[in-house]
């Protein structure tokens, strides 16, 4: 390493010595070394020959006059390249917009401005779909349940009938005497989310009330048409929850800006590479 550095330093000294560019002290020191170091002297001579050889090249004359005419020096407005400028501008704008869009999306989904998610909402949507199906379980009219404790019933223990799971979600209505025969439109609504989904006529229809003729229909039983089958009622009926509109718009804009950015950047690079920029 040091040898290489010393050699380079000597080379520069010898070269400058040939051109008379050394100071007096440098020149005297070098001349003293040259008298005692034949290798250094040889290197100097080789450099001198090289310098002479390069200088041996003839000085060429201009093949023509380069004098200027007024037309040649008229300052013309530089030709703008609209395509190039537009591409560069579009790419820059697209990049900025893309960053802004990602920022907005982050803020409103994962960031501090994000809304807390409602856990019950999907359940409600499932309930809506489920209610449109033909019921698997048919509930009997409490009054005809057949329990021994009921006056009219035969279906079982009246206490069991009075504490279904859905009691909590049943609409708050004035208590009706179970012994009274309710008209069909006043039947208790057996729904999971009664408050959120007020029953319609169709829905009421799905919760079929067993006919009074207890000999013909089961009080609580399996739909005979589907008995023995394992049915997944929600597999093909639960619909995908649609994204909010603003997210769809943001996504489309992100894709568009990304396409502009990539396309513009690629075209700009190609133009630049082919010297058209």
């Amino acid at each position: 390493m040091n040898n290489e550095r010393t050699r380079t330093r000597e080379l520069e000294l010898l070269s400058a010595y040939l051109d008379g560019e050394l100071s007096t002290t440098q020149r005297q020191a070098l001349e003293a070394r040259l008298q005692h170091e034949p290798d250094l002297h040889n290197r100097l001579e080789n450099l001198r020959k090289t310098k002479i050889m390069v200088g041996y090249l003839p000085r060429l004359r201009a093949p023509r006059h380069y004098t200027l005419t007024p037309d040649m020096v008229t300052v013309r407005p530089q030709k703008k390249q609209p395509l190039f400028v537009t591409l560069r501008l579009a790419s820059a704008l697209a990049a900025i917009l893309l960053v802004v869009l990602f920022g907005v999306e982050f803020l409103f989904t994962s960031g501090p401005l994000a809304r807390p998610r409602l856990g019950a909402k999907p359940m409600m949507e499932v309930a809506v779909v489920a209610d449109e199906l033909e019921p698997l379980i048919l509930w009997g009219e409490p009054g005809v349940g057949g329990g021994e404790g009921f006056v009219n019933g035969r279906g079982g223990d009246p206490e069991i009938m009075e504490q279904p799971v859905m009691v909590e979600s049943m609409p708050i209505e004035p208590e009706v005497d179970v012994e009274e025969e309710l008209p069909p439109e006043d039947e208790p609504e057996l729904m999971l989310e009664a408050e959120a989904l007020p029953p319609t006529d169709d829905e009421v229809g799905t919760l079929q009330i067993a006919p009074k003729d207890i000999d013909e229909q089961p009080i609580l039983g399996i739909n005979p048409e589907e008995s023995g089958e394992i049915i997944s009622r929600y597999a093909d009926t639960v619909e995908e929850i649609p994204q909010p509109t603003w997210r769809v718009v943001v996504r489309v804009l992100q894709i568009a800006m990304g396409a502009v950015l990539i396309g513009g950047g690629l075209t700009w690079w190609l133009l630049h590479r082919h010297g058209l920029s």
Binding site: S15, E21, N42, R61, L68
Partner: protein, 203 residues
Amino acid sequence: MDEQALIQAALDGDLNAFNTLVLHYQDMAYNVAYRIMGETGAADDAAQEAFISAYQKLKQYRGGSFKAWLLRIVTNNCYDELRRRQRQPVTPLKPDLPDGETLEDPYWIEDETASPEEQTEQAELQAAIQNCINELDQKFRAILVLVDIEGLDYQTAAEAAGTPVGTVKSRLARARERVQDCLQGFWELLPELFRLRDEETAS
């Protein structure tokens, strides 16, 4: 020629005054451009462009050596053109010799008293030297041309190249050493007097 007066007249819009300067420096500009570019057509364009640029940028001239200022424009034009050619390589048209060899420049043959054989040898030697210069890196090449071909001192060469004097010194030394190594490949073309010491001992 009162250079400063001509420059001032040119600054006042006198194109003829500037053309006087052009006529004075055009050979130097073309020669430097050719040695850097290694091709006549490109050197011609670079020289012409340099004079047009010089006229348009004359207001930026702040005194000092006009020659160095002009050569800086010439070398910068050459660098730009070389960079452009690196992106878009072109094959220059070269005049063919009767024996199938090519000469890079029809201006080689100057000594009309030499025999045809001697002229050919001269041309080959000069072509070999130019090839060795062309193999140098741009920054080394320009310094070698400015000092060893144009004969500028280090200070003027530094102004023309836009580098410090110390850089000129080191680049020139390395450029000479590389050309020296390159020329050993053309040993048989070198005149006996100019054969390098190592070659002499080898033979």
